[in-house]
């Protein structure tokens, strides 16, 4: 070696012999736990939960104590929908930077969409993602394989092999499976392997060349409209196909009041249909596009007040199962361009909880439902063990300071890309610590012994 780099032992991930959260408000929606308790974790497993559970452990050699006064301890978050850009677009994000961002955002599990280069339609790509994540050791990465080869909408991928390599679902995300016949076969085939089929619902014949939501604002700005009906048509069709095939169907990032209505109707008939929504579709309308801010170009596009209101109600009542970030990092090459030329998407892993916690108490949204939608409900969608706060569970936890207020632009973010309209917004609730698979993967507490 001509030169030597100072090698510091990576402090994270770190498994702790004995980790104690003392006097923390612990919230576990699955067991209706919401109480101030002590939580004891021994070698990555939760061993005691309850008032006074930490007694007698405080002086133990090697024990780490976290004073939980005024803090919340939540089951760690699960993201159904992130783009970590590796392989192919590592200048925007890679598995390591993306998992750092996920850990800082309170996530223990991240599902990664297949629209990489090459597309994740083979075992080789799936394995690459998984092995890069293992190297990192942070939040667990779950690949979503493509439904069709090359996301071309024609030939099904080898779903059995993708599943063996680690895929937890299939999606042609970014591209809708337009052919009803292909979608029917995909639902039937994926059912063999218990993989949910995740649809990006967009009738491309109705959205060719579209830049933003079709409405008054698109007419004023002279931008080509993406009508709501293009989403609703596909979700309605897919619900019928899911019913016909009895297969598991998951609607990605729904954005319209119509989609929420169709999902509610499907659920009322007991169909195996689930749905997710992004933070930006719960917080912004097409009005944010005035001024041609390309950070607000997303797909599906930002809609109108009535859509936002319907999505918030649907989240609160459980019609929408899960929050998904649709974390989509882009560099200035894709965003510092004409609006019509800009790539759609915004990053979001580090901002999601801080943005959405501000909705608690509005439109019927409880903290327990928000936590469920960010953690346990998405885990159920992909069939992984949901993070829990109970004795015997593997420690997958997020410690939150609910009093903190912070502005993303003032912090060093972990993601490589800063494409977000929320950079200068004030967010609530800072993530202080994240545990994934029993290990500390993010730590801003500076836990003391």
């Amino acid at each position: 070696m001509l030169w030597e780099r100072p090698v510091a032992a990576p402090p994270l991930p770190r498994t702790v012999e004995l980790l104690v959260f003392r006097g923390v408000r612990a919230l576990d929606p699955a067991s209706q736990l919401d109480a101030v308790v002590d939580v004891v974790i021994e070698r990555g497993t939760i061993t005691r939960v309850g008032p006074g559970a930490a007694e007698g452990l405080l002086g133990v050699e090697g024990a780490q104590l976290v004073d939980g006064t005024g803090k919340w301890l939540l089951p760690a978050f699960v993201d159904l929908h992130a783009h970590l850009r590796e392989p192919g677009h590592e200048y925007k994000e890679d598995v390591h930077s993306g998992l750092n961002a996920a850990a800082a955002g309170g996530y223990a599990h991240v599902c990664v969409m297949p629209n990489t280069r090459p597309v994740n339609d083979t075992r080789a790509v799936t394995e690459l993602m998984v092995s890069r994540a293992r190297e990192h050791g942070g939040p667990t990465l779950h690949p979503i394989g493509a439904i069709t080869k090359g996301q071309q909408g024609q030939d099904l991928t080898e779903m059995a092999e993708l599943r063996d390599a680690g895929a937890v679902g299939v999606s042609d995300d970014g591209v809708c499976v337009m052919s009803a016949a292909v979608m029917r076969r995909a639902l039937e085939y994926a059912r063999n392997f218990d993989l949910p089929v995740i649809q990006h619902a967009e009738d491309h014949t109705l959205t060719a060349g579209a830049h933003m939501h079709e409405g008054v604002v698109s007419a004023q700005l002279g931008l080509k409209g993406w009508p709501r009906v293009a989403e609703d048509i596909i979700i309605a069709r897919d619900v019928l196909l899911a019913e016909y095939t009895s297969a598991r169907y998951h609607a990605a990032h729904i954005s319209t009041f119509g989609a929420a209505r169709i999902i509610a109707e499907a659920k009322s008939r007991g169909l195996p249909v689930t749905a997710e929504v992004t933070p930006h579709h719960l917080l912004l309308t097409d009005g944010a596009v005035v001024g041609y801010d390309t950070a607000c170009r997303v797909n599906p596009p930002l809609r109108e007040e009535q859509d936002v209101a319907a999505l918030r109600r649907a989240l609160a009542d459980g019609t929408i199962d899960a929050i998904a970030t649709d974390h989509a990092p882009h560099s200035p090459l894709e965003k510092d361009v004409e609006f019509a030329e800009a790539s759609p998407g915004m990053m979001g892993l580090e901002l999601c909880f801080g943005l959405l916690v501000q909705l608690v108490g509005r439109d019927g949204l409880t903290l327990a439902r928000l936590v469920d939608a960010m953690s346990q409900a998405p885990a159920r969608v992909i069939g992984i063990e949901p993070p829990r706060i109970r004795e015997g569970a593997r420690a997958e936890l997020t410690l939150v300071d609910p009093q903190a207020r912070w502005i993303p632009a003032e912090r060093r973010l972990q993601t490589k890309s800063l494409n977000s309209p929320f950079l200068k917004s004030e967010l609530g609730s800072k993530i202080l610590m994240t545990l994934a698979h029993g290990a500390i993967v993010f730590d801003e507490v500076g836990a003391t012994t």
Binding site: H211, E214, G215, V216, S218, A219, Q220, L221, G222, L223, K224, G225, P227, G291, Y292, T294, P332, L333, D336, V337, E338, F339, A340, E341
Partner: protein, 315 residues
């Protein structure tokens, strides 16, 4: 280093009635200049105007070029056929390059809506929008209003203007629909449903899917150019049918007020949106519109680059 200029002309949206009227009044003075034997004033001597056209245009570019030259500015035409993305250059770099050339005014024509706005956010030069995508074409609307005032009198209050054709994709219609109400006129927009904005009434626009009711009693009839490429997008079945249902014929023109003006931003599709005899007839002010274009663009350049103090006819 000069301070960043804020006086851009990006659109009619956000423009006050006072600024609009001042532009139109200033243009009158410049119209007189363009009719002199020596059509030149030194108002912008030493100033640099960059005509940055990302989209092909002969009329508008020539009009801005003449406007700049008649005011003594150095005018440079840059035709850039590609957007920033195809070049792999960010808009920020494009703007920085232009600023480094010390342009006083950058006139931008771009096929992407909002491109001049993004440039203006960071440019030190004043930016004039010479047409952006399907968004706005403010100097076209100003020259249309200028032409109306020349023929109908300065006060356009209560005048009825029917704009007919592809409203959805027309930046001319959009800018006129904003400017004319500012001046007191009433705008009717007519075209096939496939070429009207979805829920156009929510915009506060008065829309018609047939041309006849829109023409009734109108003081001005403005026909928009039909883009033949829309045929492929299945927005209308054939030029023949378009012409038969939405074309301006002498017979249809008779529905308008006697002496109504016929306008068209050009170039014309004779026999499609407008019959040849109507375009050349006594009602037509299509060529005066072109003349007004130079005067209005002189006023726009003056607004954005001129020193303080109004120009005088004696200058």
């Amino acid at each position: 280093m000069t301070e960043p200029r804020q006086r851009h002309l990006l659109g009619i949206a956000g423009m006050s009635r006072e600024v609009a009227l001042s532009l139109l009044d200033t243009a009158k003075v410049f119209l007189e200049v363009t009719r002199r034997p020596v059509r030149k004033v030194p108002t912008l001597r030493g100033k640099t105007v960059l005509n940055l056209f990302f989209e092909a245009s002969t009329r508008t570019r020539t009009s801005f070029e003449l406007a700049g030259k008649r005011m003594g500015a150095d005018v440079v035409n840059i035709s850039a056929s590609t957007s920033s993305t195809t070049k792999g250059e960010t808009l920020h770099d494009t703007v920085a390059t232009l600023d480094a050339m010390h342009a006083d005014v950058v006139v931008i024509r771009h096929s992407a809506s909002g491109a001049p706005h993004i440039v203006a956010q960071r440019s030190r030069a004043a930016v004039i929008n010479a047409g952006d995508g399907m968004h706005e074409h403010p100097t076209q609307a100003l020259l249309d209003a200028f032409t109306m005032r020349q023929h109908l009198g300065d006060d356009l209050s209560g005048k009825v203007v029917a704009i007919c054709g592809d409203i959805l994709h027309s930046r001319v219609a959009r800018s006129n629909a904003l400017l004319l109400p500012l001046l007191g006129a009433r705008v009717r927009l007519a075209g096939p449903r496939t070429m009207l904005p979805h829920r156009a009434r929510d915009l506060g626009w008065e829309v018609y899917d047939r041309i006849e009711p829109a023409l009734e009693g109108a003081d001005v009839v403005m026909m928009l150019r039909i883009q033949r490429e829309r045929l492929g997008a299945a927005l209308f079945p054939s030029l023949r049918e378009y012409s038969r249902v939405w074309g301006l014929t002498g017979q249809r023109l008779a529905l308008a007020r006697p002496g109504a003006l016929v306008m068209h931003p050009g170039p014309l599709n004779r026999g499609v949106e407008i019959a040849g005899d109507v375009a050349d007839g006594p009602h037509s002010v299509i060529l005066p519109q072109v003349e007004a274009g130079v005067a209005v663009r002189m006023a726009a350049l003056y607004l954005c680059a001129g020193e303080s103090g109004p120009p005088t006819a004696q200058e």
